[in-house]
């Protein structure tokens, strides 16, 4: 894995599970017939005795994991984020979150890139749903290396954790042995005209946008949020106070995810002009990932344009 190399996050995550499995003998993985897609089948091949295929029965999968956790096993449940967080939403809430079960939840195929599967398969609200669950930790890693770091961190935490991964290739932006700290933003660029706060696969795009902005004479601070919950309150407060205008960028609905979380913090601590870039309140559709991302300004050009408009509009917007 080299810096700049494009690797599917799901593959890196699937391999990370295999590596974690070698170190942690009581770790199990459960999937609901989408192992070749989520890449948990890599774990299944490596440890057939520790992989449970439940069939297309997400609710039962979550319940089984809950029961297994009472015997000291640390199960991962994995399927597409859209089904994981809604089809099995009540089971995650009651059998996992309320019971404080030590179960790790992987929502694969987060956001728009679903291999042209369209509206029914695109999780535009998984972060919002999971963030609202009491006690749930929510991670949205940026690149393949951070997906690995999140898998590791999830295992280090006692209790339920949601880790979102995406299907499409994402450029490696973090160095080897990159670590994630709960509730800590990663400052990827310093600037003074506008703060961009991004999460997940939008961060590599935001990083490119920052370079574009530099060429245009706009100085942007880029904060990456690997954990949407807990969120880095201090970093947001500092951005509102020292820069005063924020652009949030996420592969998710603008309602309830990163943008919503940043607005909540800013509104309580130091209100400022914030623009949320993400999907408006709509279902997505099938088609080419990049064409569709472009429609919502979720490519580096779109991010740069939105940031520039904010920087030029100043704090009044």
């Amino acid at each position: 894995m080299e810096l700049g190399e494009e690797i599917a996050q799901r593959t890196a995550f699937g391999q990370a599970l295999v590596e974690l499995g070698a170190k942690i003998p009581n770790m199990l993985v459960l999937d609901a017939d989408v192992g070749p897609s989520t890449q948990t089948h890599l774990f299944g091949r490596a440890y057939p005795d520790r992989f449970i295929e439940v069939g297309i029965a997400e609710q039962n999968m979550v319940g089984i994991a809950a029961g297994l956790s009472t015997l000291g096993f640390i199960p991962w449940v994995s399927t597409f984020a859209v089904f994981m967080t809604k089809r099995a939403g009540d089971q995650i809430r009651n059998s996992i979150a309320h019971a404080r079960a030590n179960v790790k939840i992987n929502g694969a195929y987060g956001g728009l890139p679903t291999g042209r599967a369209g509206a029914t398969h695109s999780a535009v609200e998984d972060l919002a749903v999971m963030r609202a669950m009491p006690g749930m930790i929510v991670m949205d890693p940026a690149d393949p290396r951070e997906a690995i770091a999140c898998a590791q961190l999830a295992m280090d935490i006692e209790g339920p954790v949601y880790v979102r991964t995406v299907r499409c290739p994402v450029p490696v932006i973090f160095p080897e042995h990159h670590k994630v700290a709960l509730g800590k933003a990663v400052k990827l660029h310093e600037g003074k005209d506008v703060a961009i706060i991004s999460s997940g696969m939008m961060t590599p795009r935001a990083l490119k946008a920052v370079e574009v902005l530099e060429g245009q004479g706009v100085s942007a601070r880029l904060l990456h949020m690997p954990t949407i919950k807990p969120i880095d309150v201090e970093a947001i407060r500092d951005a509102t106070e020292s820069i005063g205008t924020i652009l949030t960028v996420e592969n998710h609905s603008v309602i309830g995810g990163l943008g919503g979380a940043v607005c909540e913090v800013a509104a309580e601590h130091a209100p400022c002009r914030i623009k949320r870039l993400g999907f408006p309140d709509i279902f997505l559709e099938s088609g080419d990932d990049e064409v569709l991302f472009g429609r919502y300004g979720l490519d580096s050009a779109g991010i740069a344009a939105a940031a520039k408009a904010l920087a030029e509009g100043g704090k009044k917007g």
């Binding site: 039962n60 809950a66 015997l71």
Partner: protein, 276 residues
């Protein structure tokens, strides 16, 4: 572990549980009385005879596991656990009150003896299945028993779990259905019939036993057969019961699903129970 009781003594325990359910519901002004009264003999047979449990060691690794999947019937469960010695009978006075260990629905982190939190229907069998799978992986010998409500069996997740357990022939897993024929808003048959119920479970790969769920001797014999049969795959005991059993004006009446008796009803209910 389980004290040795004859059927007569167990029947007397069941009478005590029934009376305490009415007392507790009346004092709290809350509780799911109907479904708690229908499960009394089932819980008596389990906690005072069948289950290998030790109230002084609620976390004992080899204890048999019990999940009240019909978590709203917590009243009957708490009374049984208290009588069995998990916590003082006095705690029942706190039922459903603020800060109580005895929440409206069982909370494993608050109430001693509760093996898993429940409340949202349809989830207990999957959790029990997970325990049974974990037991196999760890080569422990305990039995997992899940008590389901009949209305709860309208939930799809129950059948996802049933399909998995039956198809994989998961051993040492016993489901008991408290088939009291009545749910919150009406009878089961009026809302959504489960029949042919036994045939459904059989088709899902389960061994099925049917009993009178208010007859302790029948329950004990079914549980004993189930223990042996469960070595080869999952077993379900369909316990035919009466919602509100023991109090004539509650029996078979859906209005008593989630209601506690007022003072007048309390006196009448207690009189009926003491006359038996």
């Amino acid at each position: 572990m389980a004290p040795e009781y004859d059927v007569g003594s167990l029947e007397s325990v069941a009478r005590q549980i029934r009376a305490l359910i009415i007392d507790t519901a009346h004092a709290a002004g809350a509780g799911h009385t109907g479904g708690s009264l229908s499960e009394v003999e089932i819980l008596t047979a389990l906690y005072f005879s069948f289950l290998k449990v030790d109230p002084s060691r609620p976390d004992w690794e080899e204890r048999d596991r019990f999940i009240l999947s019909k978590g709203h019937a917590s009243l009957g469960y708490y009374v049984t656990l208290a009588l069995r010695g998990y916590f003082p009978l006095d705690s029942l006075k706190t039922f459903d009150r603020e800060d109580s260990a005895l929440q409206a629905h069982p909370d494993m982190h608050k109430c001693k003896g509760v093996d898993y939190s429940t409340g949202s229907l349809g989830q207990g069998l999957s959790i029990g299945l997970g325990m049974a799978l974990g037991r196999l992986k760890k080569n422990l010998q305990f039995m997992t028993v899940v008590l389901l409500g009949d209305g709860e069996c309208q939930e799809g997740q129950v059948w996802e779990a049933a399909m998995f357990a039956g198809s994989k022939r998961i051993p040492k897993l016993i489901a008991i259905v408290d088939y009291n024929k009545v749910q919150l808003s009406n009878t089961i048959d009026a809302n959504l019939s489960l029949e042919p119920f036994s045939i459904k479970w059989e088709a899902f790969g389960w061994n099925v036993l049917s009993v009178n769920g208010h007859n302790i001797a029948d329950l004990l014999s079914a549980l004993s057969r189930a223990r042996a049969m469960a070595e080869r795959g999952p077993v379900v005991i369909i316990a035919n019961t009466i919602k509100g059993k023991g109090v004539s004006f509650m029996e078979g009446n859906y209005e008593w699903h989630g209601k506690a008796p007022n003072d007048q009803e309390y006196i009448a209910a207690k009189k009926e129970l003491s006359d038996r």
